[in-house]
């Protein structure tokens, strides 16, 4: 019998019922909630007179809408009354249905995909869902984690299961040696540039190979986070010693003998040597440069040493038209060197790149320097715990002395649902995951980059090749 992939093993361990002609019913081990995609699901439960089946497997936080300005108890949750109502609705729903909520004043509050791993809720072999496409982040631990819609949120609340057709499997083999200053963010952007934003649609991706094995958990989370930007249903990385070391001692991770039992099981999860995938992609990172997006889709990306492409270079007419529209929206001329593009704003944050390691790397670039005149730069830590840890290390001082704003945790300008938005025409170097039209604010122009590249752009006022600054150490 052929061997099994990591995905096969996690999938098969969660099939509750499988009948011919019907999608298998999959058990869900962890359900994460936030304020934006859950209210209609709770309302649906109420209308049907249903309960939350497993409140003990369900955890909530508020992140999408939350202000990142100082939080004062007794003050309104948001200056935006509609956003405040959405948060109050989540508080009420969690109270009524008995769900643990990390609210605005909790030291555990943060972006849902950051706090899951941080609290040890995210574990190898689990099935994890959330009404948010970046749920793929949790796959870094060898979990099967995917985003769902609100109807499916309601389904999981009511039944703790989800009927799902099994997606196909794709191996993305990442090999070569990453240069200094070339990060996990550049790996995933470069990969999406190669396979396209629908290159993995219909697939669960497993990232494999020597580069992935050497990655930290934070780096693995970055590449799994943006699996959705390649269209993937989920991204996964096999659990290993790096994974176990990250998890040991975290609040919701198993303890003592239970941890030993868990590790013994987790060690059985990696893909068998004789397993096969439905599709295979090889990505060599040896000559990969820091990446900068130039358009309005994450696949519109090039090297920092490159130029804005000429749409006429694209053979496919639809791609050409999309590139023309993107350049018009972005206010860019074909052939412009990437390093001549001036920026107005810098955003270091999001579930892609707002972990402690990201902030440390950005601080290396910022230390002792000043944000360029006319540039407004902000750091939004991914969680209140990360913010606290960063402050213990003095990272906040490095950023603040350079002229960065140092904010409270939340999704913030990644999607601009709170007050942190771009003004029309403003151009932003952003460590987030989507450069869609209007994503960071109507008329705003987003360039996706790594934290060190964003930090460098803040100092110089335009994109620069961070490798040439001589400030990074391995």
């Amino acid at each position: 019998m052929a061997g099994k992939t990591l995905f096969d093993k996690v999938w098969e361990a969660h099939v509750v019922v499988e009948e011919p002609g019907k999608p298998p019913l999959l058990y869900i081990d962890l359900h994460l909630l936030h304020e934006v995609t859950s209210p209609q699901a709770f309302e649906g439960l109420r209308l049907a007179g249903r309960r939350v089946r497993r409140p003990d497997l369900t955890f909530a936080t508020m992140d999408h809408n939350v202000p990142t300005t100082p939080r004062i108890p007794g003050q309104p949750l948001s200056p935006d009354p509609i956003a405040a109502q959405q948060m109050e609705t989540l508080i009420r729903n969690c109270r009524e249905f008995g769900i643990t909520l990390f609210d605005l004043y909790s030291p555990d509050q943060g972006i849902v995909h950051i706090i899951g791993p941080q609290l040890g809720l995210t574990q190898p072999g689990k099935t994890i869902v959330c009404g948010d496409s970046h749920t793929s982040t949790h796959g870094a631990f060898g979990a099967l984690a995917f985003g769902i819609g609100t109807s499916e949120v309601e389904h999981v609340l009511a039944t703790q299961t989800l009927p799902q057709w099994k997606p196909k499997s794709m191996e993305i083999w990442i090999e070569g040696e990453l240069g200094l200053g070339v990060t996990a963010k550049d790996v995933i952007l470069g990969l999406i540039g190669q396979i396209g934003t629908d290159g993995a649609t219909g697939y669960v991706v497993e990232y494999r190979g020597p580069v992935v094995e050497r990655m930290t958990m934070e780096e693995r989370m970055t590449i799994c986070n943006m699996a959705i930007e390649a269209g993937a249903r989920a991204g996964m990385v096999a659990p290993d010693a790096t994974t176990f070391a990250y998890l040991e001692g975290r609040r919701y991770a198993p303890k003592g003998a239970a941890f030993e039992r868990a590790v013994a099981y987790w060690e059985t999860l990696p893909t068998d040597p004789d397993a096969t995938f439905d599709h295979r992609v090889v990505f060599d990172v040896s000559r990969l440069a820091p990446q900068v997006t130039w358009g309005t889709s994450p696949g519109m990306v090039t090297d920092v040493t490159g130029r804005v492409p000429d749409p006429s270079e694209f053979a496919d007419p639809e791609t050409r038209r999309a590139a023309e529209r993107a350049l018009e929206y972005m206010g860019l001329e074909p052939g412009t060197p990437i390093q001549e593009i001036k920026i107005d704003r810098v955003f270091i944050g999001s579930c892609t790149n707002a972990r402690l390691e990201d902030l440390r790397a950005a601080a290396q670039v910022v230390r002792g320097k000043k944000v360029a005149p006319g540039v407004r730069a902000m750091v939004v830590p991914g969680s209140q715990w990360i913010k606290y840890q960063a402050e213990q290390e003095g990272l906040d001082q490095i950023f603040k002395e350079a002229g960065f704003e140092w904010r409270e945790a939340g999704c913030s300008m990644c999607l601009g649902m709170n007050q942190d938005i771009l003004q029309p025409g403003e151009r932003c170097a952003s460590t987030s995951n989507r450069n869609f039209e209007g994503r960071q604010g109507r008329g705003g122009r987003t360039h996706l980059v790594s934290p060190v590249m964003a930090a460098a752009a803040a100092i110089y006022g335009h994109f620069v090749d961070v490798r040439e600054l001589g400030v990074l150490t391995a």
């Binding site: 058990y27 249903r50 509609i82 496409s133 769902i148 219909g202 639809e318 791609t319 601009g416």
Partner: protein, 197 residues
């Protein structure tokens, strides 16, 4: 859920690829706690200018496409965010079916859960439908889920696929949660066999 069987309606072409859910419903409109009220925000930044005035050149604003219920569009429609507000907005605006070469996975499921039929067709077929909807004023298309066919009034007949399970759910307008709850005993047995660490 509202059943979908056979629908004949005016078709509108949106000739773009990779239309993301941020375009379908911009994020500033996601703060409602109801499932309703999103139709007015559909494609907001494309339909309206900075002053909130309709952009006369955007396809949905052209008088000839008023009342359209079938959207013909490019590949990878609905990519990006998982927001179900996107199909809610499309449905409330009046769309009953979307014809495209491909859809993003989460969006595809979200549509099916709302009785909005996403139909995958070959890129050449979509191109031809788009051409006809552009050139012919008052171009009507029939989307027939009973026969799994897309047809027009000029003899175009194109089969499409949807798995039998989802097809039945849509044809009969079944509630997926009710179907799952028929397996209550199996879910309980699964939980008993998997107590956790």
């Amino acid at each position: 859920m509202e059943p979908f069987r056979v629908h004949r309606g005016l078709a509108v072409p949106l000739d773009r690829i990779n239309v993301d859910t941020d375009q379908i419903v911009p994020k500033q409109f996601l703060k409602r706690v109801e499932r309703t009220g999103f139709g007015q925000f559909l494609f907001y930044d494309w339909r309206y200018d900075e002053q909130g005035q309709p952009r006369p050149d955007f396809v949905l604003n052209l008088p000839r496409y008023q009342g359209a219920t079938i959207l013909i569009t490019g590949a990878n429609f609905g990519c990006g965010s998982s927001r179900e507000h996107a199909p809610w907005a499309l449905k409330e605006y009046g769309f009953r079916a979307i014809l495209a070469p491909s859809f993003a996975d989460i969006f595809y499921n979200n549509c099916l859960n709302n009785g909005l039929l996403p139909v995958r067709l070959e890129a050449e077929v979509v191109g031809e439908l788009m051409r006809r909807a552009t050139e012919e004023e008052g171009y009507y298309v029939t989307v027939d889920l009973e026969a799994c066919q897309v047809r027009d009034d000029h003899g175009l007949v194109q089969p499409f696929e949807l798995d039998a399970f989802r097809r039945r759910m849509l044809l009969e307008g079944l509630d997926p949660i009710d179907i799952t709850l028929e397996h209550e005993a199996a879910i309980r047995a699964y939980e008993a066999a998997h107590p956790g660490w």
